[in-house]
Symmetry: C2
Subunit: 84 residues, 2 copies
Amino acid sequence: PDWQIVEVEGIPHLTRTYKFPDFQTALNFTNRVGEIAEAEGHHPALLTEWGKVKVSWWTHAISGLHKNDFIMAAKTDEIAAQFT
Amino acid sequence: PDWQIVEVEGIPHLTRTYKFPDFQTALNFTNRVGEIAEAEGHHPALLTEWGKVKVSWWTHAISGLHKNDFIMAAKTDEIAAQFT
């Protein structure tokens, strides 16, 4: 599935789950997303498990979604494309 | 709070949230826990966010908690102690 908007405690999050062949590859992806998060000063929630990572973007300051979240989602997809 | 047993879709998980001063430190902790997970061949769910990481251990094969999960929880605490 592609990106979905999911409400968590009333706050919309832009969320997508990516599949990977094992834990280490999933963690490598998490680190790459962490790099762009640090570079942009905008931080997601990254749920890393064996074979998958769930990425959630939202804007804390507005308790919602901002244009920037969608930009980060697109950048996340670009990173994921490098893993396939 | 210390470790708690939380049911997720009927499966008990051993769960603890650790606080950190920023995103990068949280991600560094996630990577250290990932290292022991790979070393032991036993993998948690790691929810990394700005300033915190939620670690969940459970044993997929038995859909529950095994002695090994508690051992991994203790090892996770040892790693966390190195971050304070």
